[in-house]
């Protein structure tokens, strides 16, 4: 009994010690601001106030119900009143750590790649100029993104960490926040429109005060994408397309509303699973795929294979397809970095126009005669 009373009294003392958190509310809600126009991306918005910028990210990971607010304040300015959940970032950021290779070309395009001081798993990076900075020790390797070397990170003292999350359960990112290093979520990969992903360059640019540059880069990518799409609309013959590859005996096929399926639509091709509503990938068995796609004219995006011999050694079943016999299999293994990373995964998200042009050049060889395949190559 005495023991239980002791336990209870300790518990009361402990819970009684919890500190009260203050909330600060904005005294004047009538402050004027300008909202930046975001055309394709649905996951973020930027408001420009006189004294600061405010970024709202609504789609940090798929089906996220959380909204993140980032307050970007110039380095010599005072921090305005804000709700205490907002993350404050002093701009322009001069030392940054990013977690995804897709951010590397973005930093390079914006001419701020010299601000990059650390990256988890640097061997995934293919870009030549950033590889040079890794080799010279200007960009430190921070171990794995799920198990960041915290000491090294603290030693680098970045002013911003641009991370991503698959479901919001990231212990490492939470921990970085606890060290008072601002963490922002890049949700570009959750966008469903190819140009939406590329438009996140405007999100990254805001932290470096590079908005104008971002606008002009995105404008070029957009024009180039839309022009290619328009050109493809004029063709009459739509080739049938198969995609995906097998893992063991399960065939992973992009759903009809998936990201890659949108490229197939914009390239004016007949993707065999186009009437399916799935936005992710379908897990189908081999027979099902063979029956539907044996006569498909093109096979675009056949996993990470480098040649047909590799495909055969992985599964004999691949050879039953017409595309295999007719040498019309194309996949995104054309450009490989020095450490074996595929450039498609790094740069593809920022350059949907090149991907679309590649697919158009594959599907309608007469249209883009001068276009040399960039990400894709034919498997021999």
């Amino acid at each position: 009994m005495r023991f239980i009373t002791l336990l209870i009294s300790i518990l009361i003392i402990v819970t009684g010690c919890k500190k009260n958190e203050k909330t600060i509310t904005t005294p004047d809600q009538q402050i004027k601001f300008v909202t930046k126009s975001i055309k394709y991306a649905k996951g973020f918005s930027i408001k420009y106030f006189d004294t600061h910028k405010e970024i709202t990210v609504t789609s940090a990971w798929p089906k996220s119900k959380q909204t993140f607010k980032y307050l970007l304040v110039e380095k010599d300015h005072e921090i305005p009143f804000h709700d205490n959940k907002a993350v404050v970032i002093k701009t322009p950021v001069s030392k940054v750590v990013v977690m995804s290779t897709t951010n590397i070309p973005t930093l390079e395009y914006l001419d701020v790649d010299k601000c990059l001081v650390g990256f988890p798993n640097t061997e995934y990076i293919s870009s030549k100029s950033t590889r040079k900075r890794i080799d010279s020790g200007e960009v430190k390797d921070l171990n794995n993104d799920l198990d960041i070397n915290m000491e090294l990170l603290l030693d680098l003292a970045p002013e911003l960490v641009i991370g991503f999350s698959v479901n919001g359960n990231d212990k490492t990112l939470n921990q970085i926040e606890k060290f008072n290093i601002p963490v922002v979520f890049d949700g570009a990969w959750t966008e469903e429109h190819p140009l939406g992903r590329a438009e996140w360059i405007k999100f990254i640019a805001a932290f470096f005060n590079k908005e104008e540059k971002a606008d002009s880069i995105f404008g070029e990518i957009e024009t180039s994408y839309l022009n290619a799409k328009k050109m493809a609309l004029n063709v009459e013959k739509k080739p049938t397309v198969l995609s995906g590859s097998m893992f063991k005996d399960v065939w992973n096929i992009p759903g009809g509303n998936s990201f890659i399926a949108k490229y197939f639509r914009d390239a004016n091709t007949n993707y065999l699973w186009h009437d399916n509503n799935n936005t992710g990938s379908l897990q189908l068995n081999f027979e099902n795929v063979l029956q539907k796609a044996q006569q498909a004219e093109l096979w675009i995006g056949a996993g990470n294979f480098n040649n047909k011999a590799q495909m055969i050694s992985s599964s004999k079943g691949y050879s039953f397809f017409d595309a295999f016999k007719n040498n019309t299999i194309y996949t995104y293994t054309n450009k490989v970095g020095t450490k074996g990373g595929l450039l498609y995964y790094e740069l593809g998200s920022l350059r949907p126009d090149i991907i679309l042009k590649d697919i158009i050049a594959i599907a309608h060889p007469d249209l883009l005669k001068n276009h040399e395949l960039y990400f894709f190559k034919r498997l021999e």
């Binding site: 023991f3 430190k140 070397n149 000491e151 030693d155 479901n167 359960n169 212990k171 939470n174």
Partner: protein, 342 residues
């Protein structure tokens, strides 16, 4: 049997060793900090802000976590080995880890199966800790309910293992349907980590751990009596069912919370009691329990220092080190003494 004063000496040596390991642990890491700099930081006279952060907000909480984990798992392993009179028992035989893994698997990989209802409500900074605690608590509760119907303590051991198999099977089903990223997240949780607890979390962990340690201290007498066998213990007036319950609750408080906060830490709970028994050559829990406590803390601090791979940019998962270092030491001790003390 050695006399009292040799034990006193042994404990003094152990405590000095513990302090030494503690300081060695906080002075070693990826970023090299000289001893004089470390002293400046600890005394608050250092001007280097990032080093100050590294020591105060990363290395110190990590060192305290290592002490809590090592001592907590060691003590609960000792209690389980005595309760089941089985040298193979450890803190996780009751299905605590498997319960925690199930909780974590559900929150990380369950979105495919449950359409995000479960996940949406639990995605917070505490999500994984809460899920792991709930999981281990539920599995433990089921084991307790079932075991209240059996008289034989050994049956509880088997029941715990069976519940472990069931949860492992469910986790396998979940992993089969989950994406590569989610699977990777789950696997990384399984590696265990001491370094991602903030002071706040260390504090909460400590409070629950404290209660667990109090309960185990109160069971010392019962543990000694249990060594004689259940029937003998009963004839000596020990209330078997109640002592069994107290021991199980203490173990689950210790092992459950530690697993919730740090992930499953392998091997320590099994190996530390054996190492201590071999070195101290006794089975009296009045000596064993505090010795296991200090010994566990020391070994964990050493393992963590090695896992940091000092001065290199890389770190290793703590689970690898505990097994790599622990197993050979136990083998060596057994071979040297040629006889197991149990």
């Amino acid at each position: 049997m050695p006399n009292k004063s040799t034990y006193k000496l042994a404990f003094t040596v152990l405590i000095i060793l513990l302090l030494f390991c503690f300081f060695a642990n906080i002075s070693l890491g990826s970023v090299s900090i000289s001893n004089s700099e470390l002293l400046n930081i600890l005394l608050g006279t250092s001007k280097n802000n990032s080093l100050h952060q590294i020591v105060f907000n990363y290395r110190l909480p990590k060192a305290f976590t290592a002490i809590i984990v090592g001592s907590g798992l060691g003590v609960s392993g000792l209690m389980m080995q005595t309760l089941f009179r089985n040298p193979l028992a450890g803190p996780f035989v009751l299905g605590i880890t498997s319960g925690a893994s199930l909780g974590v698997a559900l929150i990380i990989m369950g979105s495919a199966a449950f359409g995000g209802i479960l996940v949406g409500s639990l995605v917070t900074k505490w999500g994984i800790v809460i899920a792991a605690s709930l999981g281990s608590f539920l599995v433990l509760l089921s084991v307790l309910v079932v075991s209240s119907r059996v008289r034989d303590t050994m049956a509880i051991l088997i029941i715990g293992l069976m519940f472990g198999s069931i949860t492992t099977a469910i986790v396998s089903v979940l992993s089969f349907f989950s994406s590569a990223e989610e699977l990777q997240q789950y696997i990384f949780w399984g590696f265990g980590s001491l370094g991602n607890l903030s002071w706040e979390e260390v504090f909460i962990l400590f409070i629950i751990y404290f209660f667990g340690i109090l309960l185990s201290l109160s069971s010392i007498k019962a543990l000694n009596t249990l060594l004689l066998g259940e029937n003998y213990a009963r004839s000596l007036g020990l209330h078997i069912k109640r002592s069994r319950l107290v021991i199980i609750v203490a173990t689950s408080l210790l092992a459950g919370t530690i697993t919730a906060f740090t992930g499953p830490i392998a091997f320590i709970g099994l190996a530390i009691p054996h190492m201590t028994r071999q070195i101290f050559n006794t089975s009296n829990h009045k000596l064993l329990l505090p010795a296991v406590f200090i010994f566990g803390a020391i070994i964990m601090l050493i393992c963590d220092s090695i896992a940091q791979l000092p001065t290199s940019d890389y770190t290793l998962p703590i689970n690898v080190i505990t097994s790599l270092i622990g197993a050979p030491v136990v083998i060596w001790l057994l071979v040297r003494k040629r006889k197991m003390v149990f």
